[in-house]
């Protein structure tokens, strides 16, 4: 990391208003991602289980 980047990181540590927006948008996207993975990999609904069966086994998600 260069000197200027270091200085920059120190200055931006007290979170600016623009970054709160960025953080909340990132968290929103991550929650969406967790929901999608949870549905495909962990839902107890039979139809979802059967459709994603081979993927659950291949990803070593607990299955059956």
């Amino acid at each position: 990391m260069s000197q200027s980047q270091l200085a920059n990181a120190q200055i931006t540590l007290p979170v600016a208003a623009g970054q709160v927006g960025r953080l909340s948008q990132a968290v929103m996207a991550m929650v969406l991602g967790i929901f999608v993975v949870g549905m495909v990999g962990f839902s107890h609904i039979d139809v979802v289980h059967n459709a994603a069966h081979d993927v659950r086994h291949s990803n070593a998600f607990p299955c059956h």
Binding site: T12, Q25, M28, A29, V47, N50, A51, V55, S58
Partner: protein
């Protein structure tokens, strides 16, 4: 472009590409082993229920004398759809193209989901440092994902083939989730808080789920050969390594492109 849109676009594109590539890799790695194990699973089921032997296809009889190997192969594939039954008559895709199409779709969705998670971290990280996350740093994040979502839970709950009995599903899912949370927390403490107490707590967090131990059955009886299980553990782990390194590298590269116009 807003940060959220940049994350979603990057995740959909890289998730789609990586999901399809991994589907192809699985066809050579994990799927043949799953299909082999299902032959044992079904044999055990028909034995238990004392059900009449499934009718052989007429073609199998005719050609058996001339080409036994082909007839045998054919049989393995054809038994699938009729006997395969997990959810008491619930819908399931037919073997062959339909089953593989759903596998591809589920792989793409899983990759998009994990990519959303990765790109979320990339957005926070580049917002804090002021510099974009390079493909190389993305690949390292992918390796972290491999450690968090495959290696750590796999130590306690090794990848399972169909037909191998295991502890109740919900208890395994809870342990899996706990292992993922503890491992990600532990790695984050070590990587981002460079102090000795943080490193010590990080290592404790990494080992904690394994000290508690994953739920397991007292004795496991299965017809699935242990050599098949061993091959499957290797196949799953290697496939997952390919998945995570590809996803980490590609998502970071695509996200950096979309994010260039976003306000930092």
């Amino acid at each position: 472009m807003s940060t959220f849109r940049a994350i979603v676009f990057a995740s959909v594109i890289s998730g789609f590409v990586v999901g399809l590539i991994v589907t192809v890799v699985q066809q050579f790695g994990t799927v043949p082993l799953i299909l082999k194990a299902e032959v044992f699973e079904k044999a055990a089921q028909t034995h238990q229920h004392d059900a009449p032997v499934a009718a052989q296809p007429a073609a199998g009889h005719d050609h058996a004398d001339h080409d036994p190997a082909a007839a045998h192969d054919h049989g393995d594939h054809d038994h699938g759809a009729a006997d395969h039954d997990h959810g008491a008559g619930a819908w399931e895709p037919r073997d062959g193209l339909e089953r593989n199409a759903y596998t591809a779709a589920a792989n793409v969705l899983t990759a998009i989901g994990f990519a959303l998670l990765l790109a979320g971290f990339f957005a926070v990280r580049s917002g804090a440092t002021g510099a974009g996350v390079s493909w190389h740093e993305g690949l390292l994040w992918g390796l972290a994902g491999f450690a968090v979502f495959t290696l750590a839970p796999g130590l306690g709950l090794p990848p399972e083939l169909p037909g191998v009995p295991a502890a109740p599903l919900l208890s395994r899912q809870i342990w899996w989730l706990a292992a993922v949370l503890a491992t990600s927390g532990g790695l984050a403490l070590i990587a981002f808080r460079r102090t000795v107490p943080a490193a010590i707590s990080g290592v404790i967090l990494l080992t904690l789920p394994h000290l508690i131990g994953a739920p397991e059955l007292a004795n496991i009886e299965t017809n699935v050969p242990s050599s098949l299980t061993h091959q499957f553990v290797t196949a799953v782990t290697v496939t997952s390594l390919v998945f995570w390194t590809l996803l980490g590298g590609l998502t970071s590269a695509v996200f950096a492109r979309f994010d260039r116009g976003a306000t930092l």
